[in-house]
Symmetry: C2
Subunit: 351 residues, 2 copies
């Protein structure tokens, strides 16, 4: 297979972890006789520094001209505490999602047996956890109208959802549940929010087309408890943008490290793959950043093109590295100083 | 001291747990020679059933004429899955908060040593946790304009904040931090939301008046992880309404039972005290509902009137009951069938 892949390493540890994912993809290409072409472009703080724009037109054009996007991470503390900054790295990511119509963010959360001891949660609560979160990604309060009054003393954000925005991701979530444990849990705040009531109504309607899938409802505050108290009760979680941001980061603690979690952001025409961790600027260039989330994002990319055998091989390489403790310091209890690159090399060699 | 207390037991397990709190307050009154007068009024689903209104005018008037309100819980599943219901129990609670100007919801989260084993989190992660959450309670997306388009296919909720809404709760949070570990963590989503950027700006400004308190910032997605990964890093958490709803319920898992957590909702003129748990209708009338959160709410009520010795005595009674395993089944690993009432009786006798 021939694939053109846009690589957007971004900020902080983005470049170093993405480099490992590219390395692994190159090994796959060689092993399976595929042709993967990689084109690099800047996004985020680094793009602001270079061009003044967190998503330069060239970057967007490149993304539109490729088959898939491998994304690193964005964000730089120099923008976070400046409420008056006009340009922010995050705008690059948000605009990319919107322009490419990447409306579904898919985040698998698994408790790896080899890592159960790493989790802050007790083993018996998490062993066997296997959740897939479907987070709506191009609507809601992220993209609704924002206002700041002239005197700077009143600010607002609008959370809007339309039926069609809800329907399309709901179909994806139910289809995914059909090949899993056939349960979808809708997380909302329908006892307070009008937009949540629309979600509840539309999802209930769509669920009629999937009689083999059970639909449950959970208020987001209760969901935030249940994910910790009893994560095994979940199969597919479906939720809107803001709740999905919170809930999926929360769920990431189950596995013992956010450095393991990959995600796919898909739409009708494009697909982007990225670790769920952020740019973690404190760790930049220290060789301690865990590349596994990025490498597993590459596996999700291969899945997307139905290269299942290839994706599986990457996952086996990852499991092997975990089992043998060939991991970065965040996970390693045995060896000192196994670097980001070393972990990438190990999985490359495995392939 | 003379106190007029409005008791609003509400729905589900509300009445049974509130009855224990009243019993305990009566014991305190006798022991310390106070005069507490209790007046009851309906709220929530039960008020809808009786009067068609989740917050009848008589109830609101009673609340305004008393010194403090003891609240049970509200909510009934018959309303939850009906997106078209015009009247909902929750409206009673929200209106009460708004009408009484209860803008600050204060939720202490502690890991009780006697209960560390109950928590889904490993002991070493939580031992010593002592957090106080300040959640803004009368603004944000809960109270902003809601719309539903005529065709029913587009719904919206507006999240608005003004400088003065942010300032007043920020002062409370910083004052509280001064008598604690002198650290405030603002939880927001300033990288995306305009309202969060206003929070960050105003809180930063107000913090200048409290030079002895350190101010930290955390994005809500990161906060949802940090609360589980390292709860001991927090002292006072300050946040807006919706994030506070999620974060505080999430934090409740630390202690091993949401049945232990009390809250105070205060404003400039009124104060209300309630367990953070919901109406838990499945447990209604089974005698298994944990009354401790409600009893500790009564202790917070006494604190509010500077009856510190009295409040402390209640807390000692609670700790004693936990130590001796005089607890409802959710916590009890030793004795069978210690009922809601028995726990109340024990603490009453202790006093
Ligand atoms: C960087 C930020 C804008 C982004 C989001 O909130 O969506 C991130 O937290 C994520 O989850 O991908
Ligand atoms: C019942 C509901 C409206 C309420 C809220 O969301 O504020 C509850 O969850 C709470 O936290 O007190």
């Amino acid at each position: 297979m021939k694939l053109k892949i846009a690589v957007l390493p971004g900020d902080g540890i983005g470049p170093e972890v993405t480099a490992q994912a590219v390395k692994v993809l190159k090994a796959i290409a060689q092993e399976f006789d595929h042709s993967f072409q990689f084109k690099y472009a800047p996004v985020g703080a680094i793009a602001i520094d270079e061009t003044g724009d967190p998503l330069p037109k060239e970057t967007l054009d490149l993304c539109k001209a490729t088959d898939a996007i491998l994304f690193g991470a964005i964000g730089d503390p120099k923008y976070d505490n400046d409420p008056s900054a006009k340009v922010r790295p995050e705008q690059g990511l948000l605009k990319l999602r919107k322009e490419l119509g990447l409306y579904a963010n898919i985040r698998p959360v698994k408790a790896y047996d080899t890592l159960l001891d790493k989790s802050p949660l007790k083993k018996q609560f998490i062993k066997g956890t296997d959740i897939c979160i479907y987070r709506e990604l191009t609507g809601g309060i992220y993209f609704g109208e924002k206002t700041l009054s002239e005197d700077g003393n009143t600010a607002s954000d609008l959370c809007v959802y339309t039926r069609s925005e809800i329907e399309r991701i709901t179909h994806l979530a139910f289809k995914s549940a059909q090949s899993r444990k056939r349960k979808v849990t809708l997380v909302d705040k329908a006892n307070v929010l009008e937009s949540s009531r629309l979600w509840r109504k539309v999802v209930t309607e769509v669920s009629q087309e999937y009689k083999d899938v059970k639909l449950d409802y959970l208020f987001v505050d209760n969901a935030a408890m249940q994910i910790i108290l009893n994560p095994k009760q979940f199969d597919v979680i479906l939720t809107e943008n803001m709740f999905g941001d919170i809930i999926s980061d929360e769920a990431s603690v189950i596995g013992g490290s956010i450095g393991l979690l990959a995600s796919a952001s898909v739409g009708d025409y494009f697909a982007m793959f990225e670790p769920i961790h952020g740019s973690y600027p404190q760790a930049k260039d220290l060789g301690i950043a865990n590349p596994i989330a990025s490498i597993l994002s590459a596996a999700m990319l291969l899945d997307h093109f139905e290269l299942y055998e290839e994706a599986e091989l990457i996952r086996e390489g990852v499991e092997r590295s975990l089992k043998l403790n060939i991991t970065t310091p965040d996970l390693n209890t045995k060896f000192n100083h196994i670097s980001t690159t070393k972990v990438g090399d190990f999985i490359e060699d495995f392939i």
